[in-house]
């Protein structure tokens, strides 16, 4: 311990203490839902209003930066932050209110409407508005002192078909807030009872309100998106290079959003293209991303923040950026993708810089990040040996009906995900009855990409499904020879039992019994090994079984991992031994050859299958 430097030693102790002193507190999602209960309006009527703070003057809306307003009454602090003061048409406006308990206790239980914060929107100098509705429910939330509860903006109010007075149903149903051209006041307010919902301690109420005024103009703003304008008016605070970087990213995102991935692909740096691997891989991944966030994004101002340009932060692309880009003209442009159902919020940091006077984008890419690894180089990313990987690709080609030799490239693909869209990223895996091995995509000239997924479930432990494939012995029992055919409910709907042989009749047959024998695997290809002959009575097999002593495929490989026991009648014209009921009986003795059948994919000089306990009668 003495050789550990002091800052690290201190950090270890301090961080552990801090972690132990805190904990995950957000049972609120559960608590809020369960605590919702109706209360009578009269309960609210007896409340005493402690502090009715008037609506405060609107915060500055002239700048492109965030607009913020706060109010406090000694017990609670309410703040409202809108990311920008000016928006372009159709741009998502994402106000967030935060409520903080600042009173003397460690925590406080509050009772409130469906949400602790209510939002309103009013047109400044106009008649249009949203808000004012109440659901007459009561919920409770526990606030810890000093810990802000963030409440994103939510729409609530009455739709109207008159666009001059308000907003229609479609607007209310769209979870994204965007507003028509004009000046708007966005307000957040609280009306809280202390003591929780329905508590007798609701002796006081706290009311606070804050507001941001924003402008939606007809001209697209360079600080907010999305905009589909071909070029943008530069912000006076941006340098010429930063403006070019911003515009390139805007065009790049516009191309992705409008399903022009080929245009976006051309904006990428050579390193990005080669790291992604192929345009098809890029198209697939970007379509998935755009679809998952419904094309919503916000492009932030270009930055030359050293933290963001730190090689460790830039990751794999850092070396290439350093090699080909002028550091004075290199920017990081963050693209924020807002949170939507099924996809968490994320920020993608794009590096933008000129290469030989052509501005290009370095995306956050590492081999495989886009869900595709080139074959065979990417086999290790799936934990597959070269041998098994080749078997997987061969199985995929067979499954998809693709001639591997015709593919211009082969890609190993990641877990396809769940739901209707196989490319949808749900942030986790799926509950399946089979395990995913790999997806394989064959890029075939003229036919486009063909993808097929390889899953493994119960069944032969072949090389496709295991690095150590084993042999499965399939005899007449497991092949269903004695399965009773049924056309209806059992037992009435099923075939009658087979007639049992009398002792005398059974004695007229000749069994084949082999306690142990090593069967040479032999050359590659389909193999049939004759083990001997048996004589059945009346054409009925009483028993046909065998075992394999060492089930590991050591020094050889069977294509599907199976060794089958088959009986071949020596009497011409007799049907195969597939099912006793279907085959029927034949009076008298019937000689059969006992054969082992398997398909050899790889072999060696000493390769043998250790067969034991074989009995046919």
């Amino acid at each position: 311990m003495n050789d550990i430097p002091d800052p690290i030693d201190t950090w270890r102790d301090v961080s552990a203490r801090a972690a132990r002193a805190s904990s995950y507190r957000a049972e609120e999602p559960r608590r809020r839902r369960s605590a919702v209960a109706s209360i009578a309006a009269t309960t609210v009527a007896v409340a005493i209003v402690v502090a009715g703070l008037a609506l405060r003057p609107a915060a500055n809306n002239g700048a492109a930066g965030p607009v913020i307003d706060r109010a406090e009454d000694g017990m609670f602090r309410l703040a409202l932050v809108t990311p920008h003061g000016r928006y372009g048409p159709g741009a998502p406006i994402e106000p967030v209110a935060s409520l903080t308990y600042v009173g003397p206790d460690r925590s406080i239980l509050i009772g409130h409407d469906m949400s602790p914060v209510q939002f309103r929107i009013e047109e400044v100098g106009g008649p249009r508005s949203m808000g004012g509705g109440s659901r007459l429910v009561c919920a409770s939330t526990n606030l810890e002192r000093g810990v802000a509860l963030d409440v994103p903006f939510e729409k609530a109010g009455s739709p109207t078909d008159d666009p001059a007075s308000g907003f229609d149903r479609a607007w209310y149903e769209d979870r994204t807030l965007s507003l028509p051209v004009g000046t708007w006041r966005i307000s957040a307010s609280i009306d809280l009872g202390v003591g929780g919902c329905g508590s007798d301690d609701q002796l006081s109420r706290h009311r606070l309100a804050v507001a941001n005024v924003i402008t939606v103009s007809g001209d697209p703003s360079p600080t907010v998106g999305p905009s589909f304008a071909p070029s943008l008016a530069p912000s006076p605070t941006l340098s010429a290079d930063a403006t070019v970087a911003l515009e390139l990213v805007r065009k790049y995102e516009d191309a992705l959003t409008t399903d022009h991935q080929d245009v976006a692909w051309r904006f990428l740096s050579p390193w990005s293209r080669s790291t992604v691997g192929s345009a098809t891989t890029f198209y697939d991944a970007e379509r998935r991303l755009v679809r998952s966030v419904f094309g919503r994004y916000i492009v932030e101002a270009p930055s030359q923040d050293p933290d963001l340009l730190d090689p460790a932060f830039l990751g794999a692309r850092a070396a290439d950026v350093a090699a080909v880009a002028d550091p004075d003209r290199t920017f990081v442009v963050s693209v924020r993708r807002p949170e939507v159902d099924g996809a968490a919020a994320a920020t993608e940091n794009l590096v933008v810089a000129p290469i030989d006077s052509q501005w290009r984008i370095w995306i956050e890419a590492t081999p495989g990040l886009f869900g595709a690894w080139p074959y065979p180089g990417g086999c290790s990313a799936f934990g597959l040996s070269d041998r098994r990987c080749d078997a997987v690709v061969a199985a995929a080609a067979s499954q998809a009906g693709v001639d591997r030799s015709k593919a211009t490239s082969i890609w190993l693909m990641s877990e396809p995900g769940c739901g209707d869209d196989p490319l949808a990223d749900r942030g986790g895996g799926c509950a399946r009855t089979t395990s995913f091995v790999a997806g394989v995509r064959f890029d075939v000239t003229g036919a486009g990409p063909v993808r097929t997924d390889i899953f493994c479930g119960v069944g032969p432990p072949s090389l496709v499904c295991s690095e150590t494939p084993r042999i499965e012995a399939i005899d007449l029992h497991s092949a269903g020879y004695w399965d009773v055919p049924c056309s209806g409910e059992a037992p009435a709907g099923c075939a009658s039992p087979l007639p049992s042989l009398g002792a005398g009749a059974a004695g007229s047959g000749t069994e084949l019994r082999i306690d142990a024998i090593d069967v040479p695997v032999g050359p590659v290809g389909q193999r049939e090994v004759d083990l001997g002959r048996a004589v059945l009575v009346d054409g009925i097999v009483q028993e046909a079984r065998f075992s394999i002593a060492d089930q590991a495929q050591a020094g050889f490989l069977l294509t599907d991992g199976t060794v089958r026991l088959e009986l071949r009648s020596t009497i011409a014209g007799r049907p195969p031994f597939e099912n006793a009921y279907a085959r029927g009986t034949y009076d008298g003795p019937e000689e059969v050859r006992v054969v082992l059948v398997f398909d050899v994919a790889e072999t060696g000089p000493a390769a043998v299958i250790h067969v034991t306990d074989l009995l046919v009668r």
Binding site: D3, I4, P5, P7, I8, T10, W11, D13, V14, S15, R17, A18, A19, R20, A21, S22, S23, Y24, R25, A26, P29, P66, I68, R77, A79, V81, P83, V96, S98, T100, V102, R106, E144, R145, G146, V147, A148, E300, P306, D307, D310, P311, A312, F313, G315, A316, A318, R336, A344, A346, T347, G419, R426, G427, G428, G429, C430, A431, R432, T433
Partner: protein, 162 residues
């Protein structure tokens, strides 16, 4: 074939009890701020809660949480909004004793000379015992970049690499 996990709530609860410490410390290494680290870790768990029904709980949740925490911590918009909101009255970390906070205030100045990846690389390897590969996965960078960041971090702190 595809079904939501009926035990997701229990699995989430276990994760919240068992994984708070590594997620919080990872967030602290990235943010160098006790309150913000708490904020980041909380949100990572909130996101896990929201997606608990579709998570494959057979896989360790810690990797999912660390990646979520990293994304949250590196979300520049979020940082900006938080700073603007809290600058007049920074939130006091709840439940942490004053002595610990004081020690961290001193330490924080030293660690502020490092970038977030450098802090994570050096602190999580030396203090937490994480492997380079584990840190690389959590940070979303290569193992080589982690080693380089740790080397720069040690140099800035004046620590012998041995």
């Amino acid at each position: 074939m595809i079904a939501p996990d009926p035990n997701a709530d229990d699995a989430f609860q276990r994760a919240a009890e068992e994984l708070w410490m590594p997620v919080y410390r990872f967030a602290l290494a990235l943010t160098n701020d006790l309150g913000v680290a708490d904020d980041v870790a909380q949100e990572a768990f909130v996101r896990l809660w929201r997606t608990r029904a579709t998570i494959d709980w057979r896989e360790p949740a810690v990797g999912w949480l660390l990646v979520a925490a990293r994304r949250i911590a590196f979300d520049r918009f979020r940082r900006l909004a938080r700073e603007l909101r809290l600058r007049p009255a920074p939130s006091t970390p709840i439940g942490i004793d004053a002595a610990t906070v004081e020690r961290f205030v001193d330490l924080r100045v030293q660690l502020a000379r490092l970038t977030a990846p450098e802090r994570a690389a050096i602190l999580l390897s030396a203090a937490e015992g994480w492997s380079t590969d584990e840190i690389a996965v959590a940070l979303g960078i290569s193992a080589g970049a982690v080693r380089a960041a740790a080397s720069r971090g040690r140099a800035k702190l004046g620590i012998d690499a041995s």
